[in-house]
Symmetry: C2
Subunit: 352 residues, 2 copies
């Protein structure tokens, strides 16, 4: 089967580009002595996780327990949950998971530390604990070094837990400052920081310049997208996933309608420097995907170019590939024009 | 099982409110002599489609063939596809579908008319053809009355097709003008327009004022959301679906993190008049869901209120319920606090 035989809209992964992206990141990490623990949020596919492991990844990163359960089921044996896990039900699931894989978690509060304690006690397995700090994103994480020290001491006091180190997202100048200050504070208490984990494809190429960094958890680098191209972390040639779409209406010369709306591409935008609209049409880069309905893309065709006609197929480079993959059940995996395999996005929708 | 026993994040439908929304719309249509053909894009769930049929809907509306195939499989016997269907593969699927249900389609081009012709010939079943016109949205549809007449004549000339009438979305003053002009043009050619179909929950309450309207295809009215409340088409009490979410981090007094990000709530926004941020927290309406990561909601807690604490659960009213439902595999259906059923969102992700 060839790509042209697929019904649209359909996400298609170019395996050559995917493999090259995985190889390149692994080579970079090897060169700089960084451990690579890819974030599977981007592909949600155990087969691609396995490709990453086969190349030398030390394990994977998941956000939600549901993703980790799918990956453990598929045979991945070392999983970090870079997400605050809260509640009795989730602690029990974490305990069951710890019986199937080596587990570590990010914590930024007494409650999330307790989740790890309950799960470790329940499973009889040690669980790794990394203290999450805020490097400026204003998301999760402690903002004070003293709080990191306090939580680390609690982890160190519990024989069922293994203190892994400090963890943050993204890597910024503030993350360096925090780490350096933390190192002094830990040392003052006679403690050391075993590891330091950072993440974020946009700054992946300079991660090795971060003092103390031992591990990275990038995700988007596997596929890349319009956002990471805009950030200068990739070129268009590095983009492994496109949504193939068909022109279904040409109501006026300046308007084309594609069969890919927000239920196919998501409504995620990119900053202005990365481009206009809801995706880049590779064959018609001057055209702008101006608006999305749930199943329609409204494309503005600039004067002077014909634009695609009804029945024509185009490749859309998504703004944000991670949320696009999460909308689909399968990825068509191609070499050149030939479809080699339908990859099942097994962890799609595993938000719990 | 009670709602409090569910893992979060989870979409929960209040069956009492859902039933009341369905009853009210059916009563309105009955009162005004309008046929109701609900759009299933909102719930993508055959059981809810059946609830609509049981109340008097004449059939359902789908966008994509994949949705229609699921609904036909589940026993729905009258389906309109309000979407331009293009391509040989899709024409064949439409033909097979016509063997399982009474099918009509929207067309706005020779190509989409040909799809209907191929499918009708292949199946030996008549297929209904409605001419889609643009009432101002700038999406699909012919923009000239003469083009509607031309396509209608082509449909009328083919014994395998049944000309259904004119169809548009949304209903606007321009749709009235187009219809009135079309009526004269058709009459001048000795033709009549058998039906006129409009759609759009925001203006549903005044649909009966549209001259000539025979049928409506509203979707969102089943659940309502922050958008239709903002449009004045519903009150907060009419909103049947909320995403239950847990506070997983409280890094600072002014910031709370919920376990529902863009993979749970979508990135759809609402116009400013409908509110700020990515959803309304019912228990803390002053709080603003300022930013979404894939699995995190970043909530700003205004000064002077404590906001929810780690482990607390909150109900989020989504900005746009149709895209939220499409992110999940199940809907928990509740009466009061009690979960009665897990509804399977069978047509989720059926974008083809």
């Amino acid at each position: 089967m060839r790509i042209a035989d697929l019904e649209t809209p359909v996400p298609v992964v170019d395996l050559d580009i995917l493999e090259s992206n995985l190889d390149r990141m692994q080579a970079y990490c090897r060169e700089h002595g960084l451990r690579l623990r890819p974030h599977v949020k981007t592909h949600k596919c155990p087969q691609i996780a396995q490709m990453q492991m086969d190349r030398g990844a030390i394990g994977i990163t998941c956000q939600k327990l549901g993703e980790a359960e799918i990956m453990a089921e598929a045979g991945i044996r070392d999983i970090h949950l870079s997400y605050p896990i809260v509640g009795v039900g989730k602690a029990e699931r974490l305990g069951r998971l710890a019986n199937r894989a080596r587990i570590s978690v990010s914590v930024d509060s007494d409650q999330t530390l307790q989740t790890a304690e309950v799960a470790a006690t329940m499973s009889g397995r040690q669980i790794g604990v990394w203290i999450d700090f805020d490097s400026g994103a204003g998301r999760t994480g402690v903002s004070k070094v003293e709080e990191a020290v306090r939580l680390a001491k609690l982890a160190l006091a519990n024989p069922n837990l293994v203190f892994g180190g400090l963890i943050t997202y993204p890597l910024t100048p503030a993350s360096e400052t925090f780490y350096v200050n933390a190192e002094s504070a830990f040392k003052a208490d006679g403690l050391s920081i075993p590891g330091f984990s950072g993440a974020g494809t946009p700054t992946a190429a300079t991660a090795h310049l971060t003092p103390g960094l031992t591990e990275v958890r990038h995700g988007t680098y596997a596929f890349h997208d319009r956002s990471t191209v805009g950030d200068g972390a990739a070129t268009l040639e590095d983009c492994a996933l496109h949504v193939w779409s068909t022109v279904v209406s040409r109501p006026t010369p300046e308007r084309a309608i594609l069969d890919a709306g927000s239920k196919t591409l998501s409504s995620d935008r990119v900053p202005e420097y990365a481009g206009q609209g809801f995706g880049l049409i590779r064959e018609w880069p001057e055209a702008v995907v101006e608006r999305l309905y749930e199943e329609h893309a409204i494309v503005r065709i600039p004067e002077g170019i014909p634009g695609p006609q009804i029945g024509d197929r185009v490749r859309i480079l998504p703004n944000h590939v991670c949320v696009v993959v999460n909308l689909h059940d399968h990825l068509a995996a191609a070499r050149g024009d030939e479809i080699r395999e339908q990859l099942i996005i097994s962890a799609r929708g595993k938000t719990q």
